[in-house]
Amino acid sequence: MSKYFIFLSTALWMLMAVPATAQVELDGSVGGSFPSASGYESDRFANASLGYVIGDWVARAGYLDVGEFELESAPTAASVEMSGYYLQAVRRFPTRVVDWELGLGATKLKSLARLGGRTLGRQTEWEPFLELAVTKKVVDGLFVKGGYLYLNDQMGSDVSALSVGLRFSF
């Protein structure tokens, strides 16, 4: 419960501390996540964040639901699940058509290994991740976003995620 409180407090503090010239962004995106480990199925992916824009830089805090990857055709159900809160620094590269973003983040990733409904492994560690995104303005304050996220060697497998979503800027 306390970590949710800290996360919300930080987000609210960021909102209140925004100077008049700065912007705040709310992002939400969904998609699919794909482990590199063979024999495992892909899963749905979700990403929600709050960003604080300073020029071409964005400081972002959010939550990643990376997914639960189930072993295909296993006689006993087996899966690895990952999710976690994150902090991220993003460099924005505006162009005339779209804005490109390259972000480096760290997520406090909670990983669970399950076999036959039993949790065999549980680990929470800070892990780095990389994100490449492209945004396109729809109307003032509303953007569409497409993104690619990469987690390297998470419990034996790299994980890639493709997502689309919306961004509200105010």
Binding site: G39, T76, S111, L120, G156, S157
Partner: protein, 289 residues
């Protein structure tokens, strides 16, 4: 009117039969959940059967709450135990699931564990029938199989429980696969005058030999002969006439099934029961009067 009398007669007959059953102490079996039951009040019957042709092994487990009294006069049915949430049975050739270590590559480790660890699933009917089995048909039991098992493997069946004592180490070593050399499938023997000579290889210490000979004839008559010996000498002779019966006529099919059985070590957390492993070979040959 006649119908009414008949119905009344049937009802009276049912009442008399029910009364007789009650007087004999005949009760009905029931199913109880494991959730309110300490492991020390559960008896386990665990049987592991090898399938050497498939290279697999099949585990069957029946759990029972023993009656307060074993007095046959007051027998009131058995309580079969159905596993509730947080309780499950696992079958493995490796270490029990609690001792498994995933290491740094969870994906690979889980992939391997699905081959070496099997969650046993509940069922009410046998998918297979085994001779010399101590399992009660049509009662809840748990089963599952492992593929690509080595010959003579050591098997562990574990009861994992959340919030109750666990029974992790019920173990048994499977007798090695063997070949039945005699009798041969194309052999014809006289049921009344020929002894049945059994020979097999290899022999093994610590196993019991159980033999079932079932003869079925074209006139739908059948006869079953069973015997067992405590040591594995590689041969056994069934005396002439032992597999014969006056109902059997003419040329019949006789199936001889030889079971090598080894008893294992049941986890002491259980109230009682047994664990055993069985290696089976069968041959069908022709018999005449």
């Amino acid at each position: 009117m006649l119908g009414l009398i008949r119905s009344a007669g049937k009802a009276a007959l049912c009442l008399v039969l029910a009364g007789l059953l009650y007087a004999c102490g005949g009760g009905s079996d029931s199913v109880v959940s494991s959730q309110s039951l300490p492991t020390g009040e559960i008896e386990a019957t665990i049987e592991v059967h090898a399938d050497p042709e498939q290279g697999s092994a099949h585990a069957s487990v029946q759990l029972l709450r023993p009656p307060a009294s074993r007095d046959d006069d007051y027998y009131d049915g058995d309580d079969y135990v159905e596993l509730g949430d947080g309780d499950d049975l696992w079958f493995t050739t490796g270490v029990n699931l609690r001792e498994e270590v995933l290491g740094s590559d969870w994906f690979e480790a889980l992939s391997e564990l699905t081959h070496s660890q099997r969650l046993l699933e509940g069922d009410y009917r046998y998918r297979r029938s085994y001779i010399f089995s101590g399992l009660v048909p049509e009662r809840v039991y748990y089963n599952g199989h492992l593929d690509n098992v080595p010959d003579g493997a050591r098997y562990t069946v574990s009861l994992l429980r959340d919030g109750a004592a666990e029974a992790l180490e019920s173990t048994v070593v499977m007798p090695r696969a063997f070949q039945l050399l005699s009798p041969l499938a194309n052999q014809t023997l006289s049921r009344s005058s020929d002894p049945v000579q059994l020979e097999w290889l290899p022999v093994e210490e610590g196993v019991t030999i159980e033999v079932d000979v079932t003869t079925t004839c074209t006139n739908n008559s059948d006869y079953q002969y069973r015997t067992s010996v405590d040591d594995d000498s590689g041969s056994l002779q069934i005396e002439a006439g032992a597999i014969d019966d006056e109902r059997l006529l003419g040329t019949c099919d006789t199936t001889l099934t030889l079971v090598k059985l080894r008893a294992g070590q049941l986890d002491s957390a259980y109230a009682g029961g047994s664990i055993s492993a069985r290696q089976v070979q069968a041959v069908t040959f022709t018999t005449v009067d």
